[in-house]
Symmetry: C2
Subunit: 302 residues, 2 copies
Amino acid sequence: MFSFEQLRGFVAVAEELHFGRAAERLSMTQPPLSRQIQKLEREVGVRLFDRDNRGVALTPAGTAFLREATRLLALAEAAPDLARRIASGTVGTIRIGFTAASTFGVLTDVLDLVTAALPQVEIDLYEMVTREQVEALLAHEIDLALARPPFDPALFGSRLIRREELVVAVPAGHALTTLDRPVEVGDLAGEPLVMHSATKARYFYDLVVGLLPVEHHNVVHTVSQIATMTWLVASGRGLAFVPRSASLLGIAGVVHLPLVTREPKPVELHLLWPRDSANPALPLALETLRALDPDATPRGLT
Amino acid sequence: MFSFEQLRGFVAVAEELHFGRAAERLSMTQPPLSRQIQKLEREVGVRLFDRDNRGVALTPAGTAFLREATRLLALAEAAPDLARRIASGTVGTIRIGFTAASTFGVLTDVLDLVTAALPQVEIDLYEMVTREQVEALLAHEIDLALARPPFDPALFGSRLIRREELVVAVPAGHALTTLDRPVEVGDLAGEPLVMHSATKARYFYDLVVGLLPVEHHNVVHTVSQIATMTWLVASGRGLAFVPRSASLLGIAGVVHLPLVTREPKPVELHLLWPRDSANPALPLALETLRALDPDATPRGLT
DNA sequence: AGAACATGATGCGCGGACGGTATCAGGCCA
DNA sequence: TGGCCTGATACCGTCCGCGCATCATGTTCT
């Protein structure tokens, strides 16, 4: 195989059509350059120059090889720079895991901030439930997740990015909609309930259980996704506790009523990332995302 | 600048994720391979592998650099092969000069033959008059011309590829069209004549002068292109001597009448090429074009 | 015609780079 | 704690490629 030095020598001679001048341009003397070209021709298996005692001319094969050599050198020139920019994090890819409904209103903020600050960083989105997110983070299949507590702080870094109200989703026309004050837990006695899965939606499950005693005969369905839950409410199967931003789903036939809770905004969403991430773009993205205000109102909500 | 050996070493380690196995694959021992990678990393300015005492993993920069390295090696692999095929003539470009009208019916045969036999040889066409063709051949701006004698045999190789009749072009309805025998030179006494340029269309000029005494008061126009000549005939300015294939031009209002000449087919067209051509595809094309029969009837003529 | 000049190619000697052998340093496992 | 795995380092010999000097040959100027 030929070397880059040989290619550079070849290109110089091809451009100067003169061994002496080409050698000078390469800061070397003419004899080794001649030998370089000879060796290159031997290795390529083709005469690249027609040369006599008066000058040098490219053969047709040499003309074609010149194009290839130029491309090779350009690529070789650019490759380290690309690698350095990847390493610096200003270009690259960040893979973000998110749950379909629960991140409504935050994901767009995240995307806007990152693409504005790091335009050369590509963002890949992966829709998955929280448990899958955790596994994917550990397997380094994603770099960043939008997830809910609790997390193992030894494995993950995290930061609160959104804090919102828990509200009650009821079918349009339900008796509670006539209430002229926030719903209290006591108002819900005997109402059928669409409940969160204790395993797949652990966060909401714990939140609701801490709020009121879940009487099993009231639970008509157990699901894991906020969207599914809202559809069930719309079809009149029962009520559900959902984050306020669920109204952004825009599902017809559902009304979201304010709810009195101990904490005014008990539903938290966090950024989550593996502490041992090797993605150089991640720290830059996290720095950028400091601008997120957990108490901001998602766009589309009043 | 890094070397191809370093790139190969890098790719091997990136694929094996193990220095020892990679070294074995490269038929070398592990220590120099380690140093190769270290040196490569120094030259690129970026750590390409995360390595501890148990294994090796690509960094993000390393992943990106792997793509580039693979491309570089593939290109470097392919370049000599390309050059060799160019040198062998089975791929490449042949530039052909031709005159607009005079080569009607031959050029398509030439193109068909060459593209069939040498599908990877590209053909560039250059329309130019015979004198320009000769200059272009000498300057190596074209590789092959379709031209008419005479040529300097010291500079050019040539071969007869078409021999055809000289006919008389007359306007439709002209008195001669009622003749029920071939036209003879004597029939043309006093007829106005559209004549070939003595400089730019020397071949036809000499041919016509050898046929009949050109009386200058009969010459109404002097032009160099057969097409122009035929248009002038169509507009009734006079008669003209043109090769039989000129009828392929399909210009309305012109009739081509047989003419009695000393030679039955006095109009010759030759392939012409510079003896010092460096185009490896040219000999192959010429060999292919041996199949041309000078006495064949051009397609479209009966 | 002949000398001066220009071209690229070749002979030779030296220094540096690279590969191999032997060994080291650190983490996992029994 | 001692073997065993990983990649890194020390040292040495060889070979490759550079520069210097010179050659072979063709052009050009006097």
